[in-house]
Amino acid sequence: MDFLGLFNYWVVVILMMVGLYIVIAHKNLVKKLIGINIFQTSIFILFISMGKVTGGTAPILSEANPVYSSPLPHVLILTAIVVGISTTALGLAIVIRIYHAYGTVEDDEIQRELSD
């Protein structure tokens, strides 16, 4: 029960670790960016999960169901998604320029180019 009750949070942790692993282990810069994205997504899920109240519905004022899920995390995450997309966009832009400048997007090859 406990395990299942915390199911969302387990997913968050697993996604986070997967994301971080990709960032650290992969040499390809684009893959690193994908890793970062997965990592950020896990945080989004964390926030959304926190807002969920069992049996709660969308916060629309009505007399029938007084239990709402907190809407605030959703709002925050909308903003965070925007931030995440900007980061990805900027990251990709830099990767493109790196590709133009070095002719590769592989970390180790860039390192080799730099040390030459």
């Binding site: 971080l20 960032v23 810069l29 690193k32 970062i36 990592f39 950020q40 945080i43 964390l46 926030f47 926190m50 605030l72 995390p73 925050l76 903003t79 965070a80 931030v83 900007s86 980061t87 900027l90 990251g91 830099i94 990767v95 320029r97 790196i98 400048a101 070095y102 860039i110 730099l114």
Partner: protein, 498 residues
């Protein structure tokens, strides 16, 4: 009327100005415009500073939505003090930036640099002003994204890789801060810093709070380049366009130190951070390690910019050291160093910029005999260097004095040893260049300096402002020291339950 809206204007002004720079396009025009905005912003911060001194804490509800529903901008003395530092550095650095920037960034991208600069200023100022934890994250990301852009804008291809590295590190750091904010929200149900602070005593000693604190410290550690999370910093500082390094060294990292102080005292609270979690010792050890490691690596460098970058890692250690003492005197010492290091490092970076402007290199071994051709410039570097070492009658000495005094008062002998030892290391890395520049026969790079090249008057002016500030605040430190003491006193009165 306008006075009551100044807090929001402080952030909005550069934000609105940034896209206007894109419209202006023409590089000189956009430079003029951006500089003008920076000076306006500086004036606003002066007025705000005055208001805070006169009337105490200013709370501004954004869009008229009162906290805890809306976002609150909150100005206390620390905020006003930081605004003043950041705006001052930004305005004066940008004033001199044009000549050097034109050298290091291709002309069709110049207006973009000014755009990014203004956006960065927006982010940094927002971080300082906001009283809302999530808003803080957003501003941190505005500041960071624009600084990645500024770093990658240069002509040197190495700056691209440095920017990418910084982007990866920085995003992870920001995400950690976001997690921390989320967890705080989960336990307190609010995002307003004041409210969080008031509600935290109810949830003391919970695992969630501990986790939030740890995520926060690691996240801010990455952003502020606290050892051992500083790995992005040397590359970012040494390969980016020189003006960018100057600005980052003078402002961005300082702002994250500010966020650290802000969260320790007025969000998590002294009790949680220093008493329950014994963060004091963790930070202290990191600070000492950073001081020694940064100074040691600075000695190894041949590139001046890289040398200064590693020295920044060490100097951040000093600020952290002051904070980690967890006393009023320690906090004040840390703040004094935040101020002093800003003027020291900017003065040093500006002199390096001028050296690069004339010689197109910052490699120490190629700059032998520079003092013969550029005596005034070397004198400026010397004064900045002495200040960094902490020689009396310079600003650096004042920092060292208060840091050592605060360590003594707490009975931390080891810290005193670390501080003085790292000062000796600082002598070595500063003297490495001084000796070559003053006492060696001129090398071909130095001889080849073109005497007819246009003198960067504005750049020189910026440099002299900071060099004179170094001497002035060494002679009469009452301004910044009194302010830092007042801030520390307020913090201990307001946030620390005795």
């Amino acid at each position: 009327m306008i006075n009551s809206h100044l807090p929001v204007l402080q952030v909005l002004l550069p934000l609105i100005a940034a896209p206007l720079c894109v419209i202006l396009r023409q590089s000189v025009l956009s430079w003029l415009f951006a500089t003008l905005i920076c000076f306006l912003s500086f004036i606003i911060s002066c007025v705000l500073f005055n208001q805070v001194l006169e009337s105490g804490v200013i709370s501004y509800a954004l869009g008229g939505w009162l906290s805890p529903w809306g976002i609150e901008y909150r100005l206390d003395k620390l905020t006003a003090f930081m605004l003043l530092i950041i705006n001052g550095v930004a305005a004066i650095v940008l004033l001199g930036a044009r000549e050097s920037i034109a050298d290091e960034i291709s002309s069709d991208r110049l207006y973009l640099f000014y755009t990014a600069f203004l956006l960065n200023l927006t982010g940094v100022l927002g971080v300082i002003m906001t009283g809302d934890a999530f808003n803080l994250f957003v501003f941190i990301e505005i500041a960071s994204l624009s600084s990645y852009a500024m770093i990658s804008i240069g002509n040197d291809r190495r700056c691209l890789y440095a920017a990418f590295k910084y982007l990866i590190f920085g995003t992870i750091g920001a995400s950690f801060i976001l997690i921390s904010v989320g967890l705080l929200y989960a336990v307190t149900g609010t995002l307003n810093m004041v409210d969080i602070f008031q509600r935290l005593p109810d949830v003391e000693n919970t695992k969630t709070l501990t986790t939030a604190l740890v995520f926060f410290v690691v996240g801010i550690g990455i952003k502020a380049a606290i050892f051992p999370l500083h790995l992005w910093l040397p590359d970012a500082y040494s390969y980016s366009p020189s003006i960018v390094s100057t600005f980052l060294a003078g402002t961005t990292t300082k702002v994250f130190v500010y966020v650290l102080i802000r969260f320790i005292y007025s969000v998590f609270g002294y009790e949680t951070v220093f008493v329950q979690e014994a963060m004091s010792h963790v930070l202290m050890i990191l600070a000492c390690a950073g001081i020694l490691y940064g100074s040691y690596l600075a000695i190894q460098q041949d590139s001046l910019k890289r040398l200064l970058a590693y020295s920044s890692v060490a100097q951040l250690g000093y600020m952290l050291l002051g904070i980690s003492l967890a006393t009023e005197a320690g906090l004040a010492a840390g703040l004094i160093h935040v101020f002093n290091h800003a003027i020291i490092k900017v003065a040093l970076f500006l002199s390096v910029i001028i050296i690069i402007f004339y010689t197109k290199t910052d490699s120490i071994s190629k700059l032998a005999g520079l003092a013969k051709t550029m005596p005034l410039l070397m004198l400026s570097f010397l004064i900045g260097g002495l200040s960094l070492i902490g020689v009396p009658l310079t600003a650096g000495f004042v920092s060292k004095w208060f840091l050592i005094k605060a360590s003594f008062e707490n009975g931390y002998w080891g810290l005193v040893v670390v501080i003085v030892f790292s000062s000796v290391l600082a002598i070595i890395y500063i003297w490495k260049f001084i000796e070559v520049a003053y006492f060696k026969e001129p090398d071909k790079v130095v001889i080849a300096i073109d005497g007819n090249q246009k003198t960067p008057y504005l750049l020189l002016f910026s440099l002299f402002v900071f060099v004179i500030a170094n001497v002035y605040f060494g002679l009469d430190s009452s301004l910044n020291v009194d302010m830092a003491n007042a801030i520390a006193q307020d913090f201990y009165l307001d946030f620390v339950v005795q």
